[in-house]
Symmetry: C2
Subunit: 120 residues, 2 copies
DNA sequence: CTAACGTGTAAGCAACTTCTTACGCATAAG
DNA sequence: CTTATGCGTAAGAAGTTGCTTACACGTTAG
């Protein structure tokens, strides 16, 4: 069967609360697999498999450090998904002015040009 | 057994190329179910089931119009997913922006968690 | 009325997910 | 060396997904 397209891989990687929590937790600092596994009420292999899904989506990298493996985030892999969602917004922008309130604090930064101010 | 959380419902609804195409196609112009089904090489019940998934994610509304059912988007349902994705990126940039502070200060307090403090 | 159309639901099936336990392998420690 | 630790993979159970065909139900046409 044909391999899944990248966007589907990304979205289905994010369609699990444990994996989203891993991403959010790694957002602050890299962690080893066992340090991550302590945070969840499932077995360590289950966490390892979640990490494999995130790695397949290019969201997480694992670096061997002696006996330990340090997991770190590759947040650029979220860009295509974010871009797809923003693409949907473009056509809706007349009806979505309330989104500015919803997102303004997180999206509007001088470092990004992704969100142009809409006509007011 | 426990019901899925809203974010997981949204992301897994988007984790399918047919459903993303339906969302993109419905963007701006409502369509009937059969008009949608003509666009894909699968049976009409399959499209109907995809619509049910999108409806369960509050992304699509079906309105009976006589014999036909018109499908339209409920774009606000994408807000939480967009917000989550942007949150990840913002925190990543905050990390990079704070890196200089982090390296130049010997003591680390949680007082500098604001976005306003990040100018070069 | 009867027939055709637009649609949803039911049942079934193959493929995929998400967990488990058991095991293998490498590194570190005694 | 021998043992413990960190981690991955294998195999299997249980549930979910994505399709199919068959059918039911309401609406429109003749």
């Amino acid at each position: 069967m044909p391999p899944k397209d990248p966007l589907s891989i990304t979205f289905s990687a994010l369609a699990d609360p444990t994996r989203r929590d891993i991403v959010a937790r790694l957002r602050g600092k890299p962690m080893t697999v066992s340090a991550l596994a302590e945070k969840y009420s499932m077995s360590r292999p289950a966490v390892s498999q979640h990490l494999a899904v995130l790695e397949r989506a290019s969201l997480v990298e694992r670096d061997r450090r002696g006996q330990w493996i340090e997991c770190s985030l590759s947040p650029a892999a979220l860009d295509p998904a974010t871009e797809w969602l923003n693409q949907q917004r473009v056509t809706w922008n007349e009806r979505l002015d309330h989104l500015d309130d919803y997102l303004s604090r997180s999206t509007l930064s001088e470092n990004h040009r992704t969100q142009e101010g809409r006509k007011s």
